[in-house]
């Protein structure tokens, strides 16, 4: 059994945004007890990660790491039509995930205690991102 649904997720610009609750709502709506949940983001300048969900400093440190490793305005790039954060957003997306697959157990995402699912907006400006959630069960 496969059910698909589409989510729109708006954000105020660069940063990580917890979408765990939205995904669990899709699992509940599908009425599935066990299986797999797949979430796909239809963009190349925002991505998905599973990350520690207890201390917000983990995610700000992660942002700091990326800012240092994939700096905005890097003269290395030719693709900069949309600004200094344009090409870095594509690199950050390629280094993280465009989709995630998570087991479902007891009617919920079977995440570890400290795991949250985050949409990582890499562009500086606010964006509305589209995601497709596919739930598979017996």
């Amino acid at each position: 059994m496969i059910t698909q649904s589409r989510i729109k997720s708006s954000n105020p610009g660069r940063g990580t945004y917890d979408i765990t609750r939205d995904l669990n709502a899709c699992v509940s709506a599908a009425g599935v007890n066990s299986g797999l949940a797949h979430v796909f983001i239809h963009h190349t300048s925002a991505s998905l990660i599973i990350c520690e969900n207890a201390d917000p400093a983990v995610r700000s440190d992660l942002e700091a790491y990326m800012t240092r490793t994939v700096p905005d305005g890097d003269p290395l790039y030719r693709h900069s039509q949309e600004g200094p954060d344009d090409m870095p957003a594509h690199v950050r997306s390629v280094l993280t995930q465009t989709s995630l697959t998570v087991p479902i157990f007891d009617g919920r995402l079977a995440l570890g205690t400290w795991q949250g699912i985050y949409l990582w907006e890499h562009r500086l400006e606010p964006h509305t991102r589209t995601l497709t959630v596919t739930i598979q069960s017996e």
Copy 2:
């Protein structure tokens, strides 16, 4: 319902090669309306990415980024039997994807407008790479 097929993809050496059309051909052949497509590359020195598909500079900038971050001939490595691009190819593969899963909708890969699927050859010499495509539907 699960259908599997194998693809051979030849390339002239390091670079990114669009395989979106090959994958959509597998989806069409499976006669599937909605579901998931999974593509797996059977190698550890070539990998898969989803990337911006409009401006080729995005992919040459991505190559430039990797060339700087994971340089060939790095004295850090002991594994260099096959040349200066041997170990960097393994690192690049680990930092990107060995497989991708994409939703199928209306009989096609439900990619975003600017998303393409690329095989990233990390070795300098020409290679023929093997991929397995698995299509899941109800």
Copy 3:
């Protein structure tokens, strides 16, 4: 058809540990001929990779690369309660994989000749990690 099982994997601390055999045991136990195997690690400071399995230097070089790129004790981070390897472990996890999906063919994981599946422990101390394996077949 979907079958799920849980694995505990203990390690002596930072390093890569081959779990291919454990996963093939799950495939055998499921009695599946063809399909997909999904493995998920329920942690954010250990991760999964598919890597060259012939020369152990590949994995020590990979460790050397990560040690240089994501160094322990980096003053960049605020999240360091659990020690100098705490935040680097989260970054390393985000740069690699929390889950992997591999085709099953002829009753076994359809890996390439040189592909092995590894649990990458990023913390220095010994840990026991929990994984969920989900097998899908027709």
